[in-house]
């Protein structure tokens, strides 16, 4: 196993520092929202988590396309790594949204288009991991993963656009709100700065995690090959 590249070590420390800075910004720099109170602060990391989830699934779809074109299993590793990370952040987005909704919408859950499509998106990618594990042949597994990640990505724009297409109580961050939306608020400049900084920080954290996870997958495959070689000797 190659030692961790210096660039990755630096990126890891930088992303940890930026994350701490973003956390402090959301807690102390962004003002308390006038109606919702402190729970509104969850919004900054809630949206950033959703953004990383969508980005991760987009990268997985892109990696799937490149794998199908070039056949290099490295891209399968990128797709798998990205889906795993996307699942974690999408789960954070879903549950934190539910926590925010309890005091604001007076319910933990409602069959709102955004909540339903986001949950379906999460389930689609959980299925990606489960179905992959059922395939023993690495090349077949990679091909399946690539096609699934490409088709599964359809759930991402559907989730994003759901609040613009369907009637919803979920607030819109960028653009006009549905008249039935509850919990919408106007962002003051410190709020906007905190929001944009959180999006940036979460993107950096995603890149660091992706790099680490891809390296780990390369190590896993090398160990597997050595085990097979030892068993066949």
């Amino acid at each position: 196993m190659q030692p961790i590249p210096r660039a990755l070590k630096v990126l890891t420390w930088v992303s940890a520092g930026l994350f701490a800075a973003a956390l402090l910004m959301t807690l102390f720099y962004a003002p308390r929202e006038a109606v919702m109170g402190d729970v509104q602060r969850v919004f900054y990391f809630h949206v950033a988590s959703g953004w990383v989830g969508g980005l991760a699934f987009l990268v997985a779809a892109g990696a799937g396309v490149i794998y199908l074109l070039r056949g290099s299993r490295r891209w399968d590793a990128v797709g798998l790594a990205s889906v795993e990370i996307g699942l974690a952040f999408t789960l954070a987005n879903l549950i934190s949204g539910s926590v925010w909704a309890r005091p604001i919408w007076n319910t933990w859950w409602t069959w709102d288009p955004r909540l339903v499509t986001a949950s379906v998106m999460e389930l689609v990618y959980i299925a990606y991991l489960l179905l992959r594990q059922g395939l023993e042949d690495p090349d077949r597994r990679a091909r399946f993963g690539a096609v699934y990640a490409i088709v599964g990505f359809l759930s991402v724009p559907l989730t994003f656009l759901s609040i613009r297409i369907f009637r919803t109580i979920h607030p819109v961050v960028v653009g006009n709100n549905d008249p039935t939306a509850q919990g919408a608020f106007d962002m003051t400049p410190p709020m906007l700065q905190t929001f944009l900084f959180s999006l940036f920080v979460f993107t950096v954290v995603y890149i660091a995690l992706l790099w680490h996870r891809v390296r780990m997958q390369a190590l896993a495959e090398a160990v597997e090959q050595r085990k097979m070689k030892l068993l066949s000797a």
Partner: protein
Amino acid sequence: MALEGPAQTFNYMLLGYGVILGCIAVLVISMLTRYRALHRDQRMLDELETQAKR
């Protein structure tokens, strides 16, 4: 009756942050655990290969 000041939702804020940080922590800890297991496997394979050569 008019609402005086923002709603008292501090505990929900803590829960929300806990969920987000918890999900990220689970992901990171899972990766660290798997990394360590792979390194352990690598060391074991090194030993087995050395024994097989003797």
